[in-house]
């Protein structure tokens, strides 16, 4: 995968599994974010994308069992001593949460919440930390940062709160930033602002970015690389252009068709919809979890779950899919025998 040759990968996850009791939310997912690279992790609600992201940050509740190997900038995350890792985490990665209102302490001014990062990790005094916090707020293009620093989260707009989150995530210039659907709760124009801001800052700081989203539209604007998750597994991964131009997995094809219809479908024309719903317990059946919804399913799909393998005959290096019947390169996306419904007016 691409990335700066000199630096270790921002994130290297190998065979990461997450289980909550008997439920396996993530199954043997492997993912690499090169130094300074932006990777999008795409999937619908319940696909395990957030579990995977929080697992690499070691921020899952104790009830979750995480196995596999995770390195952030060369530091082994899962094997590290818990106490030591807790202190180091902020230097290794910054997190931008989905709901900034819930992710900020309601009774502390935002300046304090940014400033304590500098106070704790850079040993700054109160005044110094406050000045550094204002500078961090200014770097996410917040006007009058000194005044905003004294405000509480509920006094800020959604976009401003998310900027504060971005400022905190990037404050210590970590090699990796994990963003969990940070624009979902925002209106479209604010979404675009935050996207632009993150892209610009990432470049300036040189952080790798793992952007979790269910909005495949965001991916093209932001990421170099994409990974698609379905039912706890990564089912397709590769350079963004390859995935957009020649998706191999029928689920990815479906996602792209949905998007195409949303963008260019005539008003009133039926929207494409992937038929069926994801399985509740994908690890119970032996076959491919997408099989019940798949237009190309055959007997082999019911018998064996396909492994994630490089696609033969593709120009793009690193393009992989977990499918017994990947779409041939150059083929137009196969319209599945979809249950169509009329778009809402």
């Amino acid at each position: 995968m691409p990335g700066d040759a000199g630096r270790p990968a921002a994130l290297m996850a190998r065979d990461v599994s997450v289980r909550y009791g008997p439920v396996r939310a993530v199954r043997e997912a492997s993912l690499t974010v090169g130094a300074g690279q932006a990777v999008a992790l795409i999937g619908e609600t319940g696909s395990g994308k957030s579990s995977l992201a929080f697992a690499v940050a070691r921020l899952l509740p104790r009830s979750a069992r995480v196995t596999g190997r995770v390195e952030i900038a060369g530091t082994d995350v899962l094997a590290a001593d818990w106490r030591r890792f807790r202190g180091e985490r902020a230097r290794l990665l910054g997190c931008v949460a989905q709901d900034a209102m819930a992710a900020l302490n309601p009774v502390l001014p935002v300046g304090r919440q940014v400033g304590e990062l500098f106070a704790v990790h850079a040993g700054m005094g109160r005044r110094q930390a406050a000045a550094a916090a204002s500078a961090a707020l200014a770097s996410v293009r917040i006007d009058h940062p000194e005044a905003v620093a004294r405000l509480y989260p509920h006094q800020l707009s959604g976009g401003m709160r998310q900027r504060v989150m971005v400022a905190m995530a990037l404050a210590l210039r970590p090699p990796l930033v994990v963003a969990d659907e940070p624009t979902t709760a925002l209106d479209v124009s604010t979404q675009a602002e935050i996207l632009g801001l993150v892209a610009e800052l990432r470049e300036r700081v040189g952080s790798g970015l793992l952007w979790i989203t269910h909005d495949i539209g965001v991916v093209a604007e932001l990421a170099d690389w994409a990974a698609v998750m379905y039912a706890g597994r990564i089912v397709e991964t590769g350079p963004v252009e390859a995935i957009f131009d020649a998706p191999a997995h029928p689920y990815t094809e479906g996602l792209l068709l949905t998007r195409r219809d949303l963008r260019s479908g005539a008003p009133g024309s039926p929207l494409f919809q992937i038929p069926g719903a994801p399985p509740a317990r994908p690890d119970e059946a032996p076959g491919c979890p997408f099989m019940p919804r798949c237009p190309r399913a055959t007997a082999v799909c019911a018998a064996r779950e396909p492994p994630l393998l490089p696609l033969a005959g593709r120009g793009e290096a690193g393009h992989q899919a977990a499918c017994h019947h990947p779409a041939p390169p150059g083929a137009p996306p196969a319209p599945a025998p979809a249950r169509a419904r009329t778009a809402a007016p």
């Binding site: 202190g87 985490r89 309601p106 009774v107 502390l108 509480y152």
Partner: protein, 305 residues
């Protein structure tokens, strides 16, 4: 915010007036003759009539009512029937002692309840134990707990003076009694709030920022728990100031509660009225202060007001 406070102040005044009127009327419903209480061995009706006349008890209720509340408007709480002293002079020093006890009691319940609550929120096993302790403390009557503490710490161990006077040593046991009786409520609220906070996204953010558990608890979590605790502590302070009768009687603490208790037994109406009014004012005032404290602790409450 100032307007909201003004409104509450007006409501508070109405409440105090209502309580005073009700208490005044109740004293006439209660059977008993103050004159007889003052001179229990008097044989002649003339002596008793003379006492009644001196105290203006022979006048119609309306006249007594008007004269009492007329004086009250001038800040005059009247004279004690029994002790022949102005009621205000009787209440003043006792208010200070009751205040000291109330403050020590509230401090004790916040400390005991808060500690139990935090422990319960962080460890499941402690939570079960704290629940059992809470149940016991809630079930025990105040006077029983007070007597048990007296027996164990006063008589058996000799660690604290048994009774008498209002000094720093004498305050320990009554304050501890108040603290133990009040602690379960605080433990419950603090445990719930801390547990909710520890599961919140903003604590996950704080953990992600590499902050230590102790730091997160002190700077982030307890800040959020502060406002309900302050509200409760303020209300408790007000109600304790209005007289912790049982505790003061058990420990012979020379406060408002003991004064009111004795006055009730002697049918010393002006003193009863005085303690009722001072108590009502204390409750109203500390409710207001609790609201103010909550606004200081929680920026969201500031804007709601």
């Amino acid at each position: 915010m100032a307007r909201a406070m003004m409104r509450r102040l007006v409501f508070g005044l109405i409440a105090v007036t209502g309580v005073a009127v009700l208490a005044f009327l109740l004293e006439f419903v209660v059977p008993g003759d103050p004159a007889r209480a003052i001179a229990p061995r008097a044989q002649s009706a003339a002596v008793l009539a003379n006492i009644r006349a001196q105290l203006h008890l022979n006048q119609p209720l309306v006249v007594q009512f008007a004269s009492y509340f007329g004086n009250l408007l001038h800040g005059d709480l009247g004279m004690s029937y029994v002790q022949r002293q102005p009621v205000a002079a009787l209440i003043g020093p006792r208010l200070a002692d009751t205040g000291a006890l109330a403050l020590a009691g509230v401090l004790a319940e916040v400390l005991i309840g808060g500690t139990l609550g935090v422990l319960a929120a962080r460890h499941d096993r402690v939570r079960a134990a704290v629940g059992a302790v809470n149940l016991v403390l809630l079930a025990v009557p105040v006077f029983v707990l007070g007597l048990v503490l007296l027996l164990v710490f006063g008589y058996q161990l000799g660690l604290a003076p048994v009774a008498g006077g209002a000094g720093p040593a004498q305050i320990v046991l009554p304050a501890l009694t108040l603290g133990l009786i009040g602690a379960p409520w605080y433990a419950q609220i603090v445990a719930d709030q801390v547990q909710e906070a520890l599961a919140s996204n903003w604590v996950r953010t704080a953990v992600g920022k590499g902050l230590r558990d102790g730091y997160i608890l002190r700077r982030h979590v307890l800040r959020n728990v502060l406002s309900p605790v302050l509200t409760m502590a303020g209300m408790d302070l007000g109600s304790y100031l209005s007289g912790v009768v049982t505790v003061e009687v058990v420990f012979v603490w020379p406060g408002i509660g003991l004064l009111a208790y004795n006055a009730l037994q002697n049918l010393d109406r002006p003193v009863v009225m005085g303690t009722v009014i001072v108590g009502a004012v204390a409750v109203v005032a500390f409710n207001l202060l609790a609201d103010l404290a909550r606004m200081l602790a929680d920026p969201r409450a500031r804007e709601e007001a």
